[in-house]
């Protein structure tokens, strides 16, 4: 505003061509017109050309029968389902791999990042080597490394490796016993929710008490006892309503139990180990970014090293860490489209199949772009909320 007021006081230059306000208005209008007309031109051209080349267009195909099967289906899906449902299955698979990958990458990344600042020479060097190796290899190669290099050399189904607790490992994947909950198991869920609520309440009261009296309360151990103890109690009271479905050998493969396929496993390991290398560097930078004076001041107040890290260093480091962390989460989500190379049915793979079975490339690519855009915007939105909560609050 200030600059405009100054401009307004300037004497007229004689012609409206020289008037900066009119000129800027003119050029802005011109850019808007150019932008919209080129969008219109592209859309118009695509429609016209599709018609001229006799290619069916529109989104009506989404309601047709898909006819193909998908190997991982988080929701009910058969070849009789629609193309739309096939795309939803693909989207859910992308979300599953993205969420699982983000959680694992964050855990590994933080451990490695803190490890790089360790006093221990060996830990520090191992973490450095990890970062340098994984950061400098394209993610596709890491995926192939896990898929062809590690998982494919496991024994065939009939010679599966027996692992403890009735689980098996072979080249078709990782088989775990599946928990089958019986009658009355809802009580355990209720007990768990109740325990979480109580733990939150205890933490809240403990904070109030500490602020008022300075007395501390072992919040962590109380919460652990509540969250494990209450559901256990409900489990025993309910008459232990839990059985396990163990994987069994059948003609071709193991059946029953909970089956994690090698495609998912290798994609998850590859994406999270790759992204973890970047997260480790972000964490290291964040911790290094907290000035040394803060640590020294905390030590001068008599805090020991663990509380210093927890109460002084990490809250300040998080402010530096979160914005670049968001970018890494977005990268991981988008890199999950490399799933296509090893046949994990994520959004790109299913949309690609739909695109090919229907031949409607423009619509298929459009759906994929919108889906990834929405996923990325949601991730950014969530991370922005986290960032706002971590921001410096002046009291």
């Amino acid at each position: 505003m200030a600059s405009q007021e100054i401009l307004r006081e300037e004497p007229s230059r004689g012609s409206f061509i020289n008037d900066p306000r009119i000129r800027s208005l003119f050029f802005q209008t011109l850019v808007v017109i150019l932008l919209f007309s080129s969008i219109w031109w592209i859309v118009h051209n695509v429609i016209e050309n599709l018609q001229r080349l006799h290619i069916a267009s529109g989104f009506g195909f989404l309601k047709s029968r898909a006819g193909f099967d998908i190997s991982d289906t988080p929701i009910a899906y058969t070849s009789d389902s629609t193309y739309f449902r096939a795309l939803v299955v693909g989207l859910l698979n992308t979300i599953i791999i993205a969420v699982a990958g983000i959680v694992l990458a964050t855990v590994v990344g933080f451990l490695i990042g803190i490890g790089r600042l360790s006093q221990n020479w060996l830990i520090r060097k191992i973490c450095t080597i990890y970062v340098e190796v994984f950061r400098n290899i394209p993610p596709l190669l890491v995926i192939f490394f896990w898929y062809s290099g590690v998982l494919a050399v496991l024994p065939p189904p009939r010679e599966s490796i027996h692992l403890p607790l009735g689980s098996f490992l072979n080249q078709r994947g990782f088989y775990l016993p599946r928990a089958v909950w019986g009658d009355g198991s809802w009580l355990i869920g209720v007990a768990l929710l109740l325990a979480i609520a109580m733990a939150w309440f205890v933490a809240h009261r403990a904070r109030q008490r500490q602020r008022a009296t300075g007395q501390q309360f072992p919040v962590f151990w109380t919460s652990v006892a509540l969250i494990i103890g209450l559901p256990m109690l409900a489990f025993l009271l309910g008459g232990m309503p839990l059985t396990f479905d163990f994987p069994k050998q059948s003609t071709f493969n193991l059946t029953g139990g909970f089956w994690i396929k090698p495609e998912f496993l290798s994609l998850l390991l590859a994406l999270s180990f790759y992204t973890a290398a970047f997260i480790a560097e972000i964490v290291r930078a964040g911790i290094r970014g907290v000035s040394k004076g803060q640590t020294e001041a905390a030590a001068a107040l008599g805090l020991r090293s663990a509380p210093i890290l927890r109460l002084v260093v990490i809250p300040q480091a998080m402010r530096i860490v979160i914005p670049p962390l968001t970018s890494q989460y977005l990268n991981l989500t988008k890199n999950s489209s490399l799933a296509i190379a090893i046949g994990y049915p994520d959004l790109t793979a299913t949309a690609g199949t739909v695109l090919n079975q229907t031949g409607q490339a423009v619509e298929g690519v459009f759906i994929m772009m919108i889906a990834y855009l929405v996923l990325s915007l949601v991730t950014s939105f969530v991370m922005n909320i986290v960032n706002a909560r971590m921001a410096l609050v002046e009291r």
Partner: protein, 342 residues
């Protein structure tokens, strides 16, 4: 990732190159001096590069036949290897002039995808291959309930597979890859119990496995797979050239014209052979198509007749040793029938 790139390219091409496809394909091809032909990424017997990098196979030879018809020179062809997913977009967008890539002719592809199929260069059917050493008791596809089945995505094979298991109330676990080499590698590594694709393909793929003798092709044929070349819809002249190149190959075999005797056949007085080889006085069957009158001579000189093409690539002259079967000429009890050139 590549198919997305092509998809976007296709969308962009459709958006920006408004006039590229509207000029006749024949003129465009003549102007650039070569035929751009879409083939598979490597399927023995149909289109696969040999150790010198030359494309071999029925589909590759069909490209050469069209190039010979247009230019009188079979070497004026460039090959674009395409995955199953990329093939239609590549043709729609004008990246290739002819798709000759073991592609099944279906009504949907003919009507809604902007393609025109020109004929059936190979009558095929879908089958299954298993590792008999690992699965000794299995000798029918009906015993495959519960099996993991390797299949290439975006194919009619993928759809037939789903239909077949549904019809027979069997369960299976699809293991789907985009590229043929990825499916082959996964099957060879033991990721799946069975491999399904067109039977001709199974015989070809078996040769590339680490121990071909362990694998058997099961007897069941679960679908009709008429494989043939396709062109863009809406260019009748170009479709006619591709279609009649195929018919010329069949007619040459029927008339007994081979790569070896085509020159001496030119002196034949048989009116049928004269019409075919363009030696009939005042005949202009080639010119009507937009080609030279000796177009069939050029085709047969370059790749031989249909029978020679078959035997050389998939039949007795090849490691595949597939019998002519239903791909024999109609005069020998098969389905291959070329309408007359007159």
């Amino acid at each position: 990732m590549k198919h997305i790139a092509i998809g976007i390219l296709g969308a962009a091409a459709l958006g920006f190159m408004a006039s590229a496809a509207s000029a006749g394909t024949l003129d465009t091809v003549k102007q650039k001096g070569f035929l751009q032909c879409g083939v598979s990424t490597g399927l023995a017997g149909f289109s696969a590069p040999d150790d010198k990098g030359d494309w071999k196979g029925i589909d590759a030879d069909f490209c050469r036949a069209v190039a010979a018809a247009v230019f009188g020179d079979a070497s004026k062809v460039k090959f674009t290897p395409l995955s199953a997913k990329e093939r239609f977009t590549a043709l729609q967008s004008g990246e290739i002039d002819l798709l000759s890539r073991n592609t099944t002719w279906t009504s949907n592809r003919d009507s809604a995808l902007g393609l025109d199929f020109v004929g059936v260069t190979y009558y095929d059917g879908q089958g299954f291959m298993i590792n008999a050493k690992k699965l000794p008791g299995v000798n029918s596809a009906l015993q495959l309930s519960g099996a993991a089945v390797c299949v290439q995505s975006g194919t009619t094979t993928e759809l037939n597979l789903a239909d077949y298991f549904k019809k027979n109330k069997m369960e299976y676990n699809p293991v789907v890859f985009e590229k043929l080499e990825e499916v082959n590698a996964a099957y060879d590594a033991g990721r799946c119990d069975a491999y399904t694709t067109d039977q001709s393909g199974l015989y070809g793929i078996r040769l590339t496995l680490s121990s071909p003798a362990d694998h058997v092709v099961l007897p069941e044929i679960i679908s009709k797979e008429p494989l043939g070349p396709a062109v863009r819809q809406g260019d009748d002249q170009w479709a006619h050239i591709a279609r009649w190149t195929y018919f010329a190959l069949l007619n040459a075999e029927e008339a007994g014209i081979t790569q070896a005797n085509v020159e001496e056949m030119k002196t034949s007085t048989d009116p049928n052979i004269q019409r075919l080889l363009g030696t009939e006085p005042d005949g202009k069957y080639g010119a009507d198509l937009g080609l030279s009158n000796d177009w069939v001579v050029n085709i047969v000189k370059a790749v031989g007749n249909y029978g020679e093409m078959f035997e050389r690539n998939v039949g007795s002259g090849s490691p595949l040793k597939i019998a002519r079967g239903i791909n024999a000429l109609w005069t020998k009890g098969g389905l291959q029938y070329g309408p007359p050139i007159r």
